[in-house]
C-alpha cells in the first residue's frame, strides 16, 4: 500500500509542478482535484467536529436553545429561492455583527492601546538603547503622520512624512526578506519529499515530460501561455 501511496502523491506533485513549464491539462486536472478534495474534506470536518458535537448532540441532550442557530442556519438555504432570498440576510447579519463586536474590542486592546503603551519609551537613558528607543518612537510617530490625509504634506510635515515612508520601506524590505524564506521553505519541503524515493521520482518525471512534449507539439504553443 505504501508504494502505491508514493506513486500517487509523487504523480500529483509533478502534475502541479508542470505549471512551471506551461498551463497544461495535467495541471488543470490536479488543480480541480485539489479544489474538490479540500472542499469535501472541509465539509466532513465542519460536520464531524463542530455541527455534530455542538448542535446535533446538544439537541439530542435536550438543549433546545440550539434550535435557534439551527433555524438561523436553515434560513441560509432561502438564498436559492427568488421570493425568500432576503431571509438569507438574517444569519449573515448575526455573524457579521458578532465578528464586528469581537474585532472592536480585540483590535482596540491588542493592536492599539497595548502597542501605544509599549512604545512609550525612555529615550534619554541607556546609551545606544536610548538611541534605538528614540528611533522607535520617532519612527512610529512619523509613520502615523505619513498616513495623515487631512492636510497637504508641505513644509515640516513633508520632512516628517518622508521619514515616515523611509521607515515603512525598510519594514517592507524586512517582510520581503522573510517572505522569501517562507516561499523557499515550501519548495525545499517538496524537493525533500521527492528525493526520498529518487527512482520513482525520476520515472515519473520522465513520463510527465514525454506527455507534455507530445501535448505541446500537438497544440503548437499558443502565444501568451508562458514566456
Amino acid at each position: 500500500m505504501e508504494t502505491f501511496a508514493t506513486w500517487v502523491s509523487f504523480a500529483l506533485t509533478l502534475c502541479i509542478l508542470s505549471f512551471l513549464y506551461r498551463d497544461n491539462p495535467l495541471y488543470k486536472f490536479a488543480e480541480h482535484l485539489f479544489v474538490g478534495i479540500s472542499a469535501g474534506y472541509y465539509i466532513a470536518l465542519a460536520y464531524q467536529e463542530t455541527l455534530r458535537p455542538n448542535l446535533v448532540d446538544e439537541l439530542a441532550r435536550g438543549n433546545l436553545w440550539r434550535l435557534i442557530p439551527l433555524v438561523l442556519s436553515l434560513l441560509m438555504f432561502t438564498r436559492f429561492s427568488k421570493g425568500l432570498a432576503w431571509l438569507s440576510r438574517w444569519p449573515l447579519a448575526f455573524i457579521v455583527g458578532m465578528y464586528a463586536g469581537i474585532n472592536v474590542g480585540a483590535y482596540g486592546r491588542g493592536d492599539l492601546i497595548i502597542q501605544l503603551e509599549a512604545t512609550m519609551l525612555d529615550f534619554l537613558h541607556g546609551g545606544w538603547g536610548g538611541v534605538s528607543n528614540f528611533l522607535l518612537v520617532a519612527g512610529l510617530a512619523a509613520s502615523l503622520i505619513y498616513f495623515y490625509f487631512s492636510k497637504e504634506h508641505t513644509g515640516p510635515l513633508r520632512v516628517v512624512s518622508r521619514v515616515g515612508i523611509g521607515f515603512l520601506m525598510i519594514s517592507f524590505g524586512a517582510s520581503f526578506g522573510y517572505t522569501v524564506m517562507s516561499r523557499i521553505s515550501l519548495a525545499i519541503g517538496r524537493a525533500r519529499f521527492l528525493l526520498a524515493d529518487g527512482t520513482i521520482a525520476a520515472i515519473l518525471v520522465a513520463i510527465i515530460t514525454v506527455i507534455l512534449v507530445v501535448w505541446s507539439r500537438r497544440t503548437r504553443s499558443r502565444p501568451g501561455e508562458s514566456t
Binding site: 474590542g105 501605544l116 503603551e117 512609550m120 525612555d122 534619554l124 490625509f149 517592507f172
Partner: protein, 381 residues
C-alpha cells in the same frame, strides 16, 4: 524536684516562642473585585523574621457553622483567592457572609493559633473597573467616527491630500489613448463584501468614466461571479456618466475562474495577448500579486497597484510604478468617489492619529523624565 518556675516557665515560653509558629500578621478578607462573583480574596503579611517553609491554612465557616478548609499556600504568597474550582463547584456562595480563619503551619506540622481575617461576602460586579481606560479610549474613537458620519451626512466637505498614484492614473490612461492599447483593471481576488473590494469598485467607477471619455478599451477580469456582477454595474454607470453608454462592450468585464492560480494564468494570458498600456491592481491580493506585476513589467505596461494586504505590498512596491500603501488605498477610494462612508472613516482615523501621536510623544517624554505614572494608565489588565 526543685521547682524552677522561672526557668521552666521561661523555657516553656521560649520553647513555645522558639518552637511555636507565628500566625500571619494583619489578615484581611474581602470580595474579589471585578469578577463574576463566588470568590473571596484573603490577604496577610508574613511575620518578620519570616521563617522558611511555613505554610498558611485558610479555613472558611459559613452560616451553617461548618468549618471548610479552603487551601494551603506558602506564607510568602501573602494571598489566597477562594473561588470555585475548575469543575465548577466549591467556592463561597454569592451574598452569604463567611468567617475566614488563618493558621500557620511549619514543615514539622506544628500549627499556630488560628487568627480571624474577619468575614466577607462574595458578590458579582457589573463593571470591571480595571478596564476603565480601555472603555474611555474606545468611546473616544467611536465618538470620532460618529461625529464624522454626521458631518458627512450634513454635506461637510472633507479635504484629502494629493496622492501620487492617483495623479498617475489619468496620465496612464492618457498614455493608453496615445498607444491605442487597452487598460487592464484587476479588482483583487476577494469576495464582493470585503472592504478592499468595495473600495476597488469605487475607484473602478472613476477609471471607467475616464476610459469612456478617452474611448480606450477597458478589461476587467474578476475571480468571483458576484464581483463580476458589481463591476459590470459600476463600469456601465461610468460609461453612462461620461455620456457614452453605447461604447460599453459586454465581455469587457469577465469572470475568469474562482481557483486562485487558474485566475492568475488567465489574467497573465490577457496581459501578454492584449499588451495593455496601463495595468491597475486595486483590491485585496495574496500570493498572485507578484505574478501579475512581473508579467505586466515584461509586457512594458505602466502599473499602478493599491492594497491594504500588508504581506503583498513589498512585491507591488518593488515591481510596479506606483503603489497605494495600506490606508492610502482607502484614501484614494474616498477621494475619487467622494463616498460618505470612506470619507468619514478617513477623517475619524486622522483625528485619532493626531491623538495617538500626542499621547505617544507625551508618554515617551514623561518616561524619559522619570514619570512612568502616565504610561501606567494605559496598561490593559
Amino acid at each position: 524536684m526543685i521547682r524552677l518556675p522561672g526557668i521552666a516557665a521561661a523555657a516553656a515560653l521560649i520553647g513555645t516562642a522558639a518552637f511555636a509558629v507565628e500566625p500571619p500578621v494583619s489578615p484581611r478578607s474581602f470580595d474579589t473585585a471585578n469578577d463574576g462573583g463566588r470568590s473571596v480574596t484573603v490577604e496577610w503579611d508574613a511575620p518578620v523574621p519570616a521563617e522558611p517553609g511555613v505554610d498558611v491554612i485558610v479555613v472558611r465557616t459559613g452560616a451553617d457553622g461548618e468549618p471548610v478548609e479552603v487551601g494551603r499556600v506558602p506564607m510568602t504568597d501573602g494571598k489566597l483567592v477562594d473561588r470555585s474550582g475548575a469543575d465548577g463547584n466549591g467556592g463561597p456562595e454569592n451574598g452569604v457572609p463567611y468567617e475566614y480563619r488563618l493558621s500557620a503551619v511549619d514543615a514539622t506540622g506544628t500549627e499556630s493559633a488560628a487568627v480571624s481575617a474577619g468575614s466577607a461576602v462574595a458578590r458579582p460586579q457589573l463593571f470591571n473597573r480595571d478596564r476603565f481606560n480601555v472603555l474611555i479610549l474606545l468611546l473616544l474613537i467611536i465618538s470620532f467616527v460618529l461625529i464624522n458620519v454626521v458631518r458627512a451626512r450634513n454635506g461637510a466637505k472633507f479635504f484629502v491630500r494629493r496622492l501620487a498614484p492617483v495623479d498617475a492614473m489619468d496620465e496612464a490612461i492618457g498614455r493608453a489613448t496615445e498607444m491605442g492599447r487597452p487598460v487592464l483593471y484587476v479588482p483583487g481576488i476577494e469576495e464582493v463584501e470585503d472592504i478592499q473590494t468595495i473600495a476597488s469598485m469605487l475607484i473602478l467607477g472613476r477609471i471607467a468614466r475616464k476610459t469612456a471619455e478617452l474611448e480606450v478599451p477597458l478589461r476587467v477580469p474578476t475571480r468571483t461571479p458576484f464581483v463580476m456582477a458589481v463591476a459590470d454595474e459600476v463600469v456601465r454607470a461610468g460609461y453612462m456618466a461620461a455620456g457614452r453608454p453605447d461604447a460599453y462592450r459586454e465581455d469587457d468585464v469577465r469572470f475568469i475562474s474562482s481557483e486562485q492560480f487558474a485566475y492568475c494564468a488567465g489574467v497573465n494570458g490577457m496581459i501578454l495577448r492584449d499588451r495593455p498600456a496601463a495595468n491597475f491592481y486595486l483590491g485585496r491580493f495574496f500570493a498572485e500579486s507578484l505574478i501579475f506585476a512581473e508579467t505586466g513589467f515584461a509586457a512594458g505596461s505602466i502599473q499602478i497597484a493599491g492594497t491594504a494586504e500588508v504581506t503583498q505590498l513589498p512585491f507591488f512596491i518593488a515591481a510596479c510604478d506606483y503603489t497605494l500603501i495600506g490606508e492610502e488605498f482607502f484614501a484614494a477610494g474616498a477621494y475619487l468617489s467622494q463616498d460618505e462612508m470612506l470619507l468619514s472613516t478617513l477623517k475619524a482615523a486622522d483625528w485619532t492619529k493626531v491623538l495617538l501621536v500626542t499621547l505617544l510623544l507625551t508618554g515617551s517624554l514623561l518616561m524619559s523624565l522619570g514619570y512612568p505614572e502616565f504610561r501606567e494608565w494605559f496598561v490593559v489588565r
